[in-house]
């Protein structure tokens, strides 16, 4: 049974960095994949420059960089319910929800993040 169904407190992954500038979004993705593989309850929030992680059509074959956005979208197929993105940070960067990957993406207000942090057993920033 998935851990989320048991009422276990979730592990909250915060993605704060843009793709490709650092290793952190990719390593956070790998962390999410591993935790989901072990059926731990995971929630993922993209905020600040991390909202760019979900922009569709990423990747650069010439540099051998894959499409991180597509990889994040793929988490939904491995047990993640949805990808949460902070609306204020989208707006500040003039990114629309329609610019994001085709996956269950839900925009939240930054004030909702507080409740997510409060309910989490562990918060991991990437």
């Amino acid at each position: 049974m998935p851990a989320e169904a048991t009422g276990e407190r979730p592990i909250l992954l915060l993605f704060r960095r843009a793709p490709y500038g650092t290793v952190f979004p990719a390593e956070g993705l790998r962390m999410a994949e591993a935790l989901l593989a072990f059926q731990l309850p995971v929630k993922a929030v993209f905020l600040e420059d991390g909202v760019f992680d979900l922009v569709k059509g990423q990747g650069n074959k010439a540099l051998d960089f894959g499409d991180l956005g597509a990889a994040f979208a793929g988490l939904v197929a491995t047990g993640l319910k949805e990808l949460l993105v902070v609306q204020e940070d989208l707006s500040a960067r003039r990114v629309g929800i329609e610019d994001l990957v085709d996956a269950p993406v839900r925009a939240i207000r930054v004030t909702e993040l507080r409740a997510l942090v409060d309910e989490a057993k562990v918060v991991m920033p990437f």
């Binding site: 915060l14 390593e27 990437f126």
Partner: protein
């Protein structure tokens, strides 16, 4: 209290490795149970036995010292990406998979992350 620790940055570039070390020492001294220190991403480089820092603190030795009191586990995939083999690990540290981290996450009361995003 049962505490788990994740370290995301390597030696010397930032202070996070030192802070993680000192936090772990302090927690143990106060009688807390530290389930382990999991070295992830560049954090694995803190377990490199070839670190040489003449006249300065040697982070590899410091994490070796921690390894005598708790588990210090370097992520195997992260280590391979950085050319760090088992033979290069400092005494008292080990290499492990994400299962070791998951166990720590499940068993801890508190989990702290040092360095990173």
């Amino acid at each position: 209290m049962k505490i788990g620790i994740l370290l995301l940055t390597g030696p010397y570039q930032h202070e996070a490795a030192d802070t993680a070390y000192h936090f772990t020492k302090a927690a143990l001294a106060r009688g807390h149970e530290v389930l382990g220190v999991f070295l992830y991403t560049d954090g694995v480089n803190n377990a490199n036995r070839h670190i040489a820092a003449p006249g300065h603190r040697n982070l590899a030795r410091m994490f070796s010292e921690l390894g005598a009191q708790t588990r210090v586990v370097a992520c195997g995939t992260c280590a391979r990406f950085r050319g760090l083999g088992k033979d290069a690990l400092s005494p008292g540290t080990s290499m492990g998979g994400m299962g070791a981290l998951v166990k720590m996450l499940q068993d801890c009361d508190r989990f702290l992350v040092f360095g990173g995003g």
